[in-house]
């Protein structure tokens, strides 16, 4: 299991979802991925995408720079 990061800043939804989806496809079950976005819509869209595709959101929130940070654990 390994940890990965994805910079999806300055992208507007659904591009952060697409980038996260494409990155997750490269990863193994159990791997984690931290996605950083600036589109606040990602806070809804990425967790929704995770729920319907069987991945787990470990953490989701906004930092002091108003960046959305979402950590995903890749499902089986």
């Amino acid at each position: 299991m390994s940890h990965h990061q994805l910079d999806a800043r300055r992208l507007l939804c659904p591009m952060p979802v697409i980038r996260a989806q494409n990155k997750v496809q490269e990863l193994a079950p159990g791997d984690t991925l931290l996605v950083t976005c600036t589109d606040p819509g990602a806070l809804l869209d990425i967790p929704a995408w995770c729920r319907i595709n069987g991945h787990e959101v470990l953490e989701a929130g906004v930092n002091e720079d108003e960046e959305v940070l979402i950590t995903i654990r890749v499902g089986g």
Binding site: L12, V17, I18, A48
Partner: protein, 372 residues
């Protein structure tokens, strides 16, 4: 029948195994991919297939012109109630997977060279549908799925959903009779999934025309109470104001081409073209200003410093007289619009920043033709 249920029923109809890839055991669950737009029709079509025990996964293509997503992220006033992505929401309600595919680059040819022409604006609806079904067909071949479903209804759209254009989509996409339209299947020739008994044709529908009553009634019967309201389409290209700005962009450049940043910027701010060789993009509020800030390095830009005001990007080439005019326009859209003079900071691409003191243009000095 039940909304929000996941279906795992097995089709056990009498299969004819005589045709191409139907060589599966009779108990194998058939698989379809559904073009999910986020609207009601694709939702109903998908639910109808789930109700027949078909394994359905959704597919959604992002062209760059999709109304879904995007602009809600820009305007600050919309941030208090972030808009859901309806395609994702529909997939979640139906309990199906959704694959969102970036087709921005491939889609350019559809917009720039539509074989079947445009609709009332720059909307190449028929070519667009052919393209999307073709991409879905490629997807099912790569992923071992059996057929494609859409929420199309005969007669619902003037270009892409007519009785005479529906076979065009089947043919030009390459999907042929692996394209099933559950909502109007009973008034169309039987497709492979129907002929093979994967799907019971009798349980499909015969909707036609632009009315929404049959869909609303079916939604009620399926227990679907919440859905995106039927509206004028899911694509900015059907919007007259947007199409006009895109046409202006092509005319100013002397060629028909675009990049993703171009089409994004057409969705943001006021656009004014005071001269043929440059236009201004003026942020209308804080959220748009912040979005435009991301483009400062690519554009000559200016903003007022003596009074609160918008960020203004200048797209094109401008001499000193043009820059003076741009500064006066920036002042006009600032809180100093009634002041004697307004100080404007100018960041010209490839030059040192400088300040200009200008008299704001009056409303009467801005011809309506400048507004795109």
């Amino acid at each position: 029948m039940g909304f929000r249920r996941r279906f795992s029923a097995i089709i056990t109809g009498p299969f004819s195994e005589s045709k191409r890839p139907t060589h599966r055991p009779m108990s194998t669950q058939r698989k379809a991919v559904s073009l999910i737009s986020g609207g009601l029709d694709s939702m109903l079509a998908t639910q109808a297939m789930l109700d027949q025990g078909i394994h359905v996964e959704g597919i959604n293509f992002f062209t760059g012109f999709c109304v879904e997503g995007h602009t809600h992220a820009i305007r600050k006033r919309d941030k208090a109630k972030p808009k859901r992505n309806n395609a994702l929401w529909v997939a979640e309600q139906l309990g199906i997977k959704l694959h969102i595919i970036d087709v921005i680059d491939e889609y350019k040819d559809v917009v720039l060279n539509p074989k079947h022409g445009y609709g009332s604006n720059l909307n190449p609806c028929l070519d667009c549908k052919c393209f999307m079904v073709r991409k879905a067909h490629e997807w099912i071949e790569q992923h071992g799925f059996d057929f494609i479903i859409t929420g199309e209804v005969v007669g619902q759209r003037p270009m892409s959903q007519r009785r005479d254009t529906m076979p065009v989509i089947q043919r030009e996409s390459g999907a042929e009779d692996r394209l099933l339209r559950p909502l109007c299947a009973k008034i169309l020739p039987p497709t492979l999934p129907e002929r093979e008994g994967w799907v019971d044709r009798e349980k499909l529908f015969d909707f036609s025309g632009r009315g929404r009553k049959p869909q609303i009634a079916l939604a009620k019967k399926m227990g679907i109470e919440d859905f995106a309201q039927p509206a004028g389409g899911c694509c900015f290209l059907t919007d007259a104001a947007y199409s006009s700005k895109l046409a202006d962009l092509w005319q100013a450049r002397g060629e028909r081409r675009y990049e993703i940043d171009d089409i994004m910027l057409l969705k943001v701010g006021r656009h004014l073209r005071p001269r043929p060789h440059f236009k201004l993009i003026v942020g209308r509020e804080e959220g748009e200003n912040r979005f435009l800030e991301g483009y400062r390095k690519q554009f000559t830009h200016l903003y007022t410093t003596s009074h609160p005001g918008p960020l203004v990007l200048l797209d094109g080439e401008a001499d000193s007289e043009d820059l003076q005019l741009a500064a006066r326009l920036a002042a006009r859209f600032s809180q100093g619009k009634n002041a004697d003079t307004v100080r404007v900071e100018l960041h010209e691409k490839g030059a040192e920043q400088r300040e200009l003191d200008v008299v704001p243009l009056t409303n009467d000095e801005i011809p309506v033709e400048w507004y795109l």
